[in-house]
Subunit: 402 residues, 2 copies
Amino acid sequence: MTTAGEPVPGLDLPQRTLLGPGPSNVHPRVLRALSLPCVGHLDPAFLEVMNGTAALLRRVFETRNRLAMAVSGTGSAGMEAALVNFIEPGDTVIVGVNGLFGERMADIVERAGGRPVRIEAPWGEPLDPDDVARALAANPGVRAVAAVHAETSTGVLQPLEPLARLCREHEALFIVDAVTSLGGTEVKVDEWGLDVVYSGAQKCLSCPPGLAPLTAGDRAVEVLLGRKTKVRSWYLDLPMVISYWGAERFYHHTAPVNMIYALYEALRLVLEEGLEARFARHRLNGRALLAGVAAMGLEPFAREGYRIPMLLSVKVPEGVDDLTVRRELLARANVEIGGGLGPTRGRIWRIGLLGHSSRRENVLLVLAALEAALNRQGRRVEPGAALAAAEAVYAAAAGAAG
Amino acid sequence: MTTAGEPVPGLDLPQRTLLGPGPSNVHPRVLRALSLPCVGHLDPAFLEVMNGTAALLRRVFETRNRLAMAVSGTGSAGMEAALVNFIEPGDTVIVGVNGLFGERMADIVERAGGRPVRIEAPWGEPLDPDDVARALAANPGVRAVAAVHAETSTGVLQPLEPLARLCREHEALFIVDAVTSLGGTEVKVDEWGLDVVYSGAQKCLSCPPGLAPLTAGDRAVEVLLGRKTKVRSWYLDLPMVISYWGAERFYHHTAPVNMIYALYEALRLVLEEGLEARFARHRLNGRALLAGVAAMGLEPFAREGYRIPMLLSVKVPEGVDDLTVRRELLARANVEIGGGLGPTRGRIWRIGLLGHSSRRENVLLVLAALEAALNRQGRRVEPGAALAAAEAVYAAAAGAAG
């Protein structure tokens, strides 16, 4: 079926500027860490790296939780781990659904044997805490409330503190999806009172995809250890995973060694920059981008006041073909932006300035490329207006700082 | 909680010769591929890489199956995917248990709602096909038989063809763990009639851990598509994963982009060498290692005739402390070998010559290091006897070839 010496073509990959909803561009230092020599998953040197990674994760999550680790899978594995471990068959879970990732949470709750109670808001709108309060009151003994912090599918940022307070009042766990927010905007696990929080490596942490940071507080760990049934997933069974990440070092599965190197280095970059400085950078570039697209006459999709600072969703203008524009950006400028998903397919673009991708030059590049693409579609935009608007934001910020 | 510019220590990793049960040493070309720039998981360039990876996997699995892909997780995620997708609550699954990984399969079957019927053999022994035949006869309507090809925990290689024939006769699926065997010894999916086969990236394929190659034939896909209930795992839901890997390219989860690059390059190396040549290399180095340890007076653990060619399990000699020896190998020679697991903890060593680690120089190194460590433990072994025995194997092979 195969013969020796048969040549197989090598990889030949383009160099993209990644300005979609993730992955974001990976810092060269992270790529270097990724390609360090692999050691064994129980090597003392690797266990040190795991400890170090957990310590850095605690700082980025702003938590004192003992449990902080990386799930061996992408963000969705983090979501599944954060749900299946805390839900037993028959448990009621209130799930906020205002986008694709909320839908996914509800689906996972059902597969885990739970009973999802859906709190809905239209795509582009935040959840209403009053709806959650009503659902909590109507369903005594709710196990958990699950919500998405930054709904990547719509560009909506959900204020978490009001929901966290409600969860405390009703003794429900609060399970939060911080896939797109962690490392780009505040995720104050302890201060806000979040019980279980998971993220993804490839968004504002700018690590390649393949790991899902996760933390859980004491209330959550208590639920975990008090389970009456086995977790439905063996691979994501946290009590077992914890004893590998914890002091016991009990072999569970082989950790993705090189990916953990990369995550460590990515977290190191986050902390070297400092969380405050990093969030400010994300906000500033996000504001410049918004000013630029507005100057082109594009309209934001997510409701004002609830927009993710570093992931802008904008409506595709009437008469413009979504896919043509995105293909042109990729072909002519090596720029990737995201399209809509599900009900917003073809109707919105999602432009991300996540982590290492959040750079002034990327703002200018995507505005220039988008302006050219829109012009080619016969939608005349005033030449240079977008760039001028963005530059004005930077100038104002520099003025305010100086 | 964190301040800007705070320094965090960088990674400083030792360079190990990995001669345990995996991960194995990664070829520099694979590390280079791993650190290529990340592109989007829906980028046409990446979809090409996915297609290419699937095509290479088919050749390594020696199959014409349409379904060939990499599960986004380590080998255990592959195991879970191979089981939960084909089992519905109430299904009976016959599970061969003669080591840790068989135990794990039985555990996963239960968590998926299935009823595992265990066929046992002592650790170090293969399963008896007659036991499987009896279990099939006693349990009409069995959904599947699950068995481990190379039981990494014991060193036993299970002949698969007799079991595959039984499965056909009883219209049960045959689900096979080829985590340690794929790329190191024959895994003839089509010729042998294996329905679902999964592996791990970090064994004989010598890619860093984090991906689980998987293939399934038409009979299995039919079962998959005829399911009456949702798969209990969302993350590992194959019907959805297939539509991402397949022609539809429907977004499911973000693939671990850089890990897929690495797997592609690792598979490329396998096929450049050629499967036959590669298996012969694994057999030869395995024979040399066995001759060497035998000359030191060490006794193999797995039954003769059923030994994994490239993963040797040997008994820790009376009066020798397992952990001391392994720590010394690591500290003095940067050599990692594996210890026992569960009932064989402290009682056996597992020396792997997997993939890129299967090299003559590694055989000589581990024999020399082991000889020195045993001497330090007061167990006198004849100086140089092990090396001479290994060299004799190489000389005989060269003589036979020339």
